[in-house]
């Protein structure tokens, strides 16, 4: 049976390549070519894989109740939905509809991950951070004064993470719920966060060594000896205000413009 196939296959080859007619030189040449081709293919696949595993994730982070899941659903499905506290991540890979995208030419593909905001589940961002290309940090503009420390600590942890620093991951601080009366203006929020991170920087630097510490010291955020400001960071940190549940008429059908632009720029 198999010899039959072999014969048919040989017959299909051009005359010069049939085993009977091959000169030793030609055989070596063919073997060499095949080897080179194989290596090139392997290299191409490896590169592609590496690039595929590269940082294509967009993380939605922030405390509970900030509006991460609503934002996720707006970006993913273009609808505003009712949500409760998440206990697991929402994750989806899809093509982001952008200003120039049409049904035939879809926008860039994003891998969006909405992480639960609860303190006990916060560690989940560490599972994704190595392959993250952009981070959206959502906060609630109305409660920021009360939750300042918790927000700043989470933001600090993300900013000081070695992957964020090494990859210079761009970060957007999205001040949600800006339509409400109690909302603080973005500039004020920025100043508050900078002040709080400044304090955290000192207290973290003085922290006791951790068990089984591999000697990796967290780097100091910003410039030593100067008051902390987001501009000092290597990774770009931008601020934007938005209102995910906007009053009628102003609603963005597919998520706020600021976030779309941010993601579009990064990708």
């Amino acid at each position: 049976m198999s010899s039959e196939y072999a014969r048919v296959a040989t017959d299909a080859l051009p005359e010069a390549l049939r085993p009977d007619y091959l000169t030793p030189n030609a055989a070596i040449g063919i073997a060499f070519l095949a080897g080179a081709l194989f290596l090139a293919l392997a290299a191409w696949f490896l590169l592609k894989k590496k690039k595929g595993a590269k940082r294509d994730k967009v993380l939605l982070t922030g405390l509970s109740e900030a509006g991460k899941t609503v934002l996720f659903m707006q970006l993913r499905h273009g609808e505003t939905v009712a949500t409760h506290t998440s206990m697991e991540s929402n994750e989806s890979r899809f093509s982001l509809p952008t200003s120039y995208s049409t049904p035939t030419t879809p926008g860039p593909s994003v891998h969006l991950v909405d992480l639960p905001g609860h303190e006990k589940l916060r560690f989940k961002y560490t599972e994704h951070i190595a392959t993250t290309g952009a981070i959206v940090f959502v906060l609630d503009s109305t409660t920021i004064a009360r939750d300042l420390r918790a927000v700043a600590e989470y933001l600090y942890d993300i900013l000081v993470n070695r992957y964020t620093q090494r990859n210079e991951v761009p970060l957007l601080v999205l001040c949600n719920k800006s339509e409400l009366l109690m909302a603080l203006p973005v500039e004020k929020i920025r100043v508050l966060l900078e002040g709080e991170i400044e304090k955290l920087r000192t207290s973290r630097a003085a922290e006791i060594q951790s068990l089984d510490d591999s000697g990796e010291q967290e780097e100091l955020l910003g410039v030593e000896g100067e008051k902390f400001a987001f501009e000092q960071l290597a990774n770009p940190v931008s601020f934007a205000k938005c209102s995910l549940i906007a009053p009628a008429g102003e609603a963005h059908p597919r998520g706020p413009r600021e976030v779309m632009d941010f993601i579009e720029n990064v990708l």
Partner: protein
């Protein structure tokens, strides 16, 4: 869960007319009844674990929507994430005036929640919840499994109302019969029934049901049939058979399909047609007739058989009252994070020949409780060998079982691996603190507010309170803080002198640092000494007051009272429990009793509890790190520091990852 048979109905505590159906006297007889009774529930919700609400109905507008006060959010946060030990699925969780009951649909990653007023004792809630879950899962199976679009589940509303109406009618019927409780209704009767198993079950009129002589159906089967009878379930036995092609729950498959078809074909409305309430229900059904489009046949007689079936159900329900979740197991496991939808659509359809052979060979296996139990016993033993308290180990095993039952694992992947994969994040979750553990930041805030920051160290005898206090003092001094140590151990001789030596040493190590001892000798009231120390510190510009207390056994009531007084009088910023890493089961006992004493003896409305833990003697335990887990699990509070040796610098922060690794290592 015994269906509230043993509870008296709450006929006195009726608040609003909506509660009336519970009172035996007021079984409504007119069609409007269904509208009234719907208000007994506050909210019914289906949500994904990711937080997306798939379908929700609010019966009462008063449920707060702010996340911090919404009962559903509170459930997710306090119970499902923080793992509040006092709440479990059987008893439910109470938040403010609400009672919340929930169940997981693990196969599809959903949570089903019912919220009602705590004051109501609705006996049918458990059945409603289970029927709700079943109905929703079977109706929207395809939609739920399709992650690529948002679906509307609005049409579920009428179906749910029909279900609710039927169950409430049944409940009302029951309470009407209640006044002189029949033997048939008692637990004793149910036990007798259970003992008799199958044969003579159909003797009494009340229990005459789903075909005398047929083999007893499982709880799950009955529920399915009831749903069918209501015209809510899958259309027919045949349809079920095909749609559930992938289902191969071994012990159930054949008996269920067999009996359900036989029931479908048999006439089943003879004995109870005359009951007065039937009219009410029947008209309910007719009124919401639009909802019944899906049902196969006569909607009008649907309610009656349902009553019969409910009767059967009651007859044999009883001791454990848990529905067997294995019923829906054999579906595709849901994986929220799985992007690849092809797997979802490809698997469950049966296809003939070779493919199905291979499928059988390699198909993922649905986990049942029976599969998991032996592994759980082993896991439990492993954990106890790691010094995890047995209560905590039991609870963890139970929660792993609960979250794995109904999911699928590949035939070639190891069950133990799946269990450990499931366990790892939950261990991390337990050990991860829910609040900041940055003490220095707290102290800076207190400094800014111009007041000393106070930390009280409590614990049983000889665990190292004074030693760890001085280690923490050393660290604070390194950060240029002024520390006052209050010697409130006025009980054990030598305690004050011990601290004095520490203060002298610390002063010598840190020349120029400000550290002082505040002592008033022995035999005085520790609460008063602490108070004096705090005011002394405030006057003299100290940043931190460390309060050393006497060691006390958790059962020693006079000493525990004294501790509660110290805490109440001084209201320290942090109450830190010092515990040995060596303890096993004792850890849970110590912590619960300390917390209980602080609560019982404080005499205030919102008593303080332990805020954090220092785990001492951690260098002595090798990889038996179970105490860390037991303590954080019991209190829900973080481990601030770990003592790892004899010198002032042997103090570490806990590293969650390394503890989890030690726990999971063989």
């Amino acid at each position: 869960m015994n269906w509230g048979f043993d509870d008296e109905p709450l006929s006195v505590a009726v608040h609003e007319p909506a509660n009336a159906p519970l009172a035996p006297a007021s079984i409504p007889r007119h069609p409007r009844r269904s509208c009234d009774c719907l208000r007994m529930l506050d909210t019914v919700t289906v949500l994904t674990k990711g937080g997306l609400v798939l379908w929700s109905k609010a019966y009462s507008p008063s449920v707060p929507t702010v996340q911090s006060r919404n009962p559903v959010d509170s459930l997710v946060r306090r119970v499902l994430i923080e793992d509040l030990a006092s709440a479990n699925p059987e008893q439910g969780y109470s938040k403010d005036s609400y009672q919340v009951k929930w169940t997981f649909g693990n196969e599809v990653g959903l949570i089903f929640v019912i919220v009602y007023q705590k004051i109501l004792q609705l006996a049918y809630i458990d059945e409603l919840l289970e029927a709700f879950k079943r109905l929703f899962c079977s109706l929207f199976d395809a939609k739920i499994r399709d992650p690529d679009a948002l679906h509307s589940y609005a049409e579920f509303e009428q179906k749910f109302d029909t279900l609710l109406g039927a169950l409430e009618a049944e409940d009302a019927q029951k309470s009407k019969r209640k006044a002189p409780r029949k033997f048939e209704d008692t637990k004793g009767y149910q036990n007798t029934l259970a003992a008799q198993a199958s044969g003579e079950k159909a003797a009494t009129p009340d229990a005459t049901t789903a075909g005398a002589g047929t083999a007893p159906l499982s709880e799950a089967d009955k529920l399915d049939e009831k749903l069918q009878a209501l015209g809510l379930g899958k259309r027919s036995g045949g349809k079920k058979g095909t749609s559930g092609g992938g289902r191969k729950t071994p012990q159930k498959g054949p008996s269920r399909s067999g009996s359900s078809t036989s029931l479908d074909s048999s006439p089943r409305s003879e004995p109870k047609a005359q009951r007065s309430w039937v009219g009410g229900v029947a008209s309910t059904v007719a009124a919401t007739g639009g909802a019944l489009d899906y049902s196969d046949s006569a909607a009008s007689d649907a309610a009656i058989p349902s009553q019969e079936l409910i009767g059967a159900h009651l007859g044999s329900r009883g001791h454990d009252g848990l529905y067997d979740a294995a019923e829906m197991d054999a579906r595709e496991s849901d994986d929220d994070e799985d992007d690849d939808a092809s797997a979802v659509t490809a698997t469950p359809q049966k296809s003939g020949g070779i493919f199905s052979f291979f499928q059988n060979l390699t198909a993922a296996k649905t986990l049942t409780r029976e599969d998991l139990d032996p592994m759980m016993a082993k896991l439990r033993e492993d954990m106890i060998n790691k010094n995890v308290a047995s209560d905590v180990a039991d609870h963890l095993c139970a929660s792993v079982t609960e979250s794995l039952t109904g999911t699928k694992i590949g035939k070639f992947s190891s069950l133990m691996k799946a269990i450990k994969q499931n366990l790892e994040p939950s261990l991390r979750k337990i050990l991860t603190p829910k609040t900041s553990t940055d003490l220095l930041r707290d102290i800076l805030a207190a400094q800014a507010a111009n007041r000393p920051y106070t930390i009280a160290f409590v614990g049983v005898n000889g665990v190292g309170k004074s030693t760890n206090l001085s280690k923490i003092c050393f660290w604070l001094l390194q950060n240029d803080l002024k520390v006052l140590i209050a010697a409130c151990d006025t009980f054990r001789s030598g305690a004050v002198e011990q601290l004095r030596v520490h203060v002298r040493n610390l002063g010598a190590v840190h020349p120029g640092a400000t550290v002082e001892l505040f002592d008033r000798g022995y035999g005085k009231d520790p609460a008063g000494i602490a108070k004096d120390a705090v005011s002394h510190a405030a006057k003299n510009g100290f940043d931190v007051v460390l309060i050393d207390t006497a060691g006390r056994m958790q059962d020693n009531e006079p000493l525990m009272r004294a501790l509660a007084k110290l805490v109440t009088v001084n209201n320290p910023d942090k109450i830190i429990f010092v515990g040995e890493a060596l303890v096993g089961n004792e850890a849970v006992d110590q912590l619960t009793k300390f917390n209980q004493a602080l609560k019982d003896f404080s005499g205030v409305r919102n008593p303080r509890q332990i805020d954090g833990i220092v785990l001492s003697k951690f260098d002595t335990i090798d990889d038996k790190v179970g105490a860390a887990l037991s303590m954080t699990y019991t209190t829900g509070q973080p481990i601030f520091f770990v003592g790892t040796g004899q010198t002032y610098t042997d103090l570490r922060r806990m590293n969650v990852r390394s503890i989890v690794n030690s726990l999971l290592a063989k």
